[in-house]
């Protein structure tokens, strides 16, 4: 993963009628990663995204998106950035293909190129002719307009529309809202594959599990302020274990001798025994050393795991402190 920044915002502020919606927000998103923007409803996620797209002007502060300022050079930003709004809408009297072609037209893509890309993206999101036929039944063209699409199909068409301009950065606002579990999985797989193709993804959601599955790093917003930001695993350790690693080892009848040996390992901060389980807090990932110590002292190594921090834990911790 390269370390260049796709987005960098400093002191971003937005007020609506005197109410501060986004309050001196600082945000960095690295290129080619999936960044999750989290926060409860009304935390300012959508407003932040709109400011980064140049659809809303910030009251204070500055943003740089792919090296351009969305306020001063909106077209340069919009040419390379795709945006899937929260409530995605299409021209319901047109077919999927016609909707996509209109967007391609607005992007100045030539007719032939647009046709080719339309085929390509429709295939990516699973909305080819035969798949639409399957969902809607074999009807005449006039009846296959987007108005007849289900919520999930529209959402997928939204992703197709975002991808047709081959963006370097996409903003997805609540992309999984209203989808069934199968649709969510397909969508998440699609999102996870985007960074490999050179597209940075900014994902806003409060579906923590989904975010954890695809995001490399996250930022949590609350009342317009950035509460915490960084890579998921690092955040978990900092938030919940004071920056330590927790390793749990299950063995049989661990004796004082074993505990002493483990305590003697470099980097081990403490060992606690609860029955057959030893919980060891360390400064680094010492699984290799710990397992070696257990085996060399003739104890069976039944199970060993390093505690993973779920996003739920992190999220709840920050909102309990509020």
């Amino acid at each position: 993963m390269s370390e260049t920044l796709a987005i960098s915002a400093q002191g971003l502020t937005k007020r609506y009628d005197g109410v501060t919606v986004v309050d001196h927000l600082n945000l960095q998103v690295k290129a080619n990663e999936v960044f999750g923007l989290l926060g409860p409803n009304g935390a300012g996620k959508t407003t932040t995204i709109l400011m980064m797209l140049g659809l809303t002007e910030p009251a204070e502060g500055s943003v740089s998106v792919l090296g351009f300022s969305p306020t001063r050079e909106p077209l340069k930003v919009k040419r390379q950035v795709g945006y899937l709004p929260e409530r995605v809408g299409f021209y319901e009297n047109m077919t999927a293909r016609e909707n996509l072609r209109f967007i391609a037209d607005l992007n100045g893509i030539s007719y032939n190129e647009a046709n080719q890309r339309t085929d390509e993206v429709l295939k990516m999101v699973g909305l080819t002719e035969s798949e639409i036929m399957e969902a809607l039944g074999p009807k005449r063209k006039i009846e296959k307009t987007v108005g007849k699409f289900s919520r999930g199909m529209k959402q997928r068409l939204g992703i197709a529309e975002v991808l047709i301009k081959r963006p370097r950065l996409v903003f997805l606002d609540e992309p999984t809202a209203g989808l069934d579990p199968k649709g969510i999985n397909q969508l998440l797989d699609l999102i996870a594959a985007l960074p490999k193709a050179g597209t940075t993804v900014v994902l806003s959601s409060h579906q923590l599990y989904q975010v954890q599955r695809v995001c490399h790093s996250i930022g949590i917003l609350a009342k317009g302020k950035m509460v915490i930001q960084g890579a998921i695993d690092k955040l978990g350790r900092e938030a919940l274990a004071g920056g330590r690693f927790q390793i749990e080892v299950e063995t049989e009848n661990p004796g004082e001798k074993l505990i002493k040996v483990i305590r003697g390992l470099k980097g081990v901060l403490g060992v606690e025994a609860k029955g057959n389980v030893l919980s060891i807090s360390t400064e680094a990932d010492l699984r290799r050393q710990v397992s070696k110590a257990v085996v060399e002292n003739n104890y069976p190594l039944i199970q060993m795991k390093i505690q993973e921090f779920s996003l739920d834990d992190i999220y709840m911790k920050y909102f309990r402190e509020e």
């Binding site: 609506y16 959508t46 407003t47 709109l50 797209l53 659809l55 809303t56 077209l75 340069k76 919009k78 040419r79 950035v81 795709g82 945006y83 709004p85 929260e86 409530r87 995605v88 809408g89 299409f90 021209y91 319901e92 009297n93 209109f102 967007i103 037209d105 607005l106 992007n107 100045g108 939204g158 529309e161 301009k165």
Partner: protein, 309 residues
């Protein structure tokens, strides 16, 4: 912006609304022709302006209104129908934010919609004028003179501006109101006010302010002038006066003429330049009205927040 115009045109042309209005235009042309067939002989127009009579004569035995009157009533409705859901329907269906996140300037959306509307309006009015001209020429057997062609073209342009004003107003309401029903109702209410109610209110206000009980001539003149001043606030009245003078070269003035002068009037048409001179303020008024309407919508749209909710 070309992409938006193209899409809007395709939308209009394939919509039921457009089909309905094309039907209306046909009916309008037929009605106008019937009125002319009834009344053009009785109108006894001097040579050189007979062809224009096709558009301005009303039926005599059977009261059929003239084509120019029908147009003054219905062009606003076409304009409103083209504009009343321009912005708010896109906003409520969630397409506006998607379109605006594409690499286009924000004003191309509203410019494209307005221009596409003007194109559709021109197609409709043009169709009607050509239909009536063609069949009318066959009916009366008198070809138009050069001057009549120019007058008709001028009429066409003024009608487009008039329609564009109502479309601009409807677009303005579609920006102001989030709900399509509200913008439609407000546009129709204004249309009703300017085309009917102001005709009832103007005499009432004039009589209240300048009573003509004593029948003094100066009072009667002042009363009439006040009435007309109030009526001129109505774009419908402006349009009717302007097109009457453009299409009926016999009209020499729009002001009040005392009955002592009338017998001395020659019944010969004004030249084109003189007619235009009479309605110059009307034409500039109409053009500026549509320009102001569009400018206000433009500014509001540029400053409006794009949030979906």
């Amino acid at each position: 912006m070309v992409a938006i115009i193209r899409k809007e045109l395709a939308d209009y042309v394939t919509s039921i609304r457009f089909l309905g209005f094309m039907l209306l235009v046909t009916v309008l042309s037929i009605t106008g022709l019937m009125a002319a067939a009834q009344g053009i002989r009785a109108a006894n127009l001097p040579q050189g302006i007979v062809f224009l009579g096709l558009f301005t004569t009303a039926g005599v035995q059977v009261p059929i209104p003239s084509l120019s009157y029908l147009v003054s009533l219905l062009v606003p409705l076409i304009g409103i129908a083209l504009g009343f859901d321009a912005i708010n329907s896109e906003r409520s269906s969630g397409t506006l934010s998607r379109v605006l996140s594409q690499p286009i300037y924000r004003d191309s959306v509203i410019n494209g919609k307005f221009l596409a509307g003007v194109v559709i309006l021109s197609i409709m009015v043009g169709t009607m004028l050509l239909l009536v001209s063609g069949y009318g020429m066959r009916m009366i057997g008198v070809p138009p003179t050069h001057e009549e062609v120019i007058r008709l073209f001028l009429y066409f342009v003024v009608t487009i501006f008039y329609g564009a004003f109502w479309m601009g107003l409807a677009i303005l309401f579609s920006i102001l109101f989030r709900r399509v029903a509200a913008s439609l109702l407000f546009s129709l209410a204004l249309w009703l006010f300017f085309s009917i109610f102001i005709m009832l209110i103007a005499p009432a206000i004039a009589n209240a302010l300048v009573p003509t009980a004593e029948g003094v001539q100066a009072e009667v003149v002042r009363n009439y002038e006040l009435q007309r001043t109030i009526l001129l606030f109505s774009p419908n009245y402006l349009f009717q006066e302007a097109t009457t003078v453009i299409l009926v070269p016999l009209v020499r003035t729009l002001g009040m003429v005392t009955s002592s002068i009338q017998p001395y009037w020659l019944r010969n048409p004004l030249s084109l330049g003189q007619s235009i001179l009479v309605v110059w303020p009307h034409i500039t008024g109409l053009i500026s009205l549509s320009a102001v309407c569009f400018a206000v919508s433009y500014i509001l749209f540029m400053r409006q927040e794009i949030r979906a909710t």
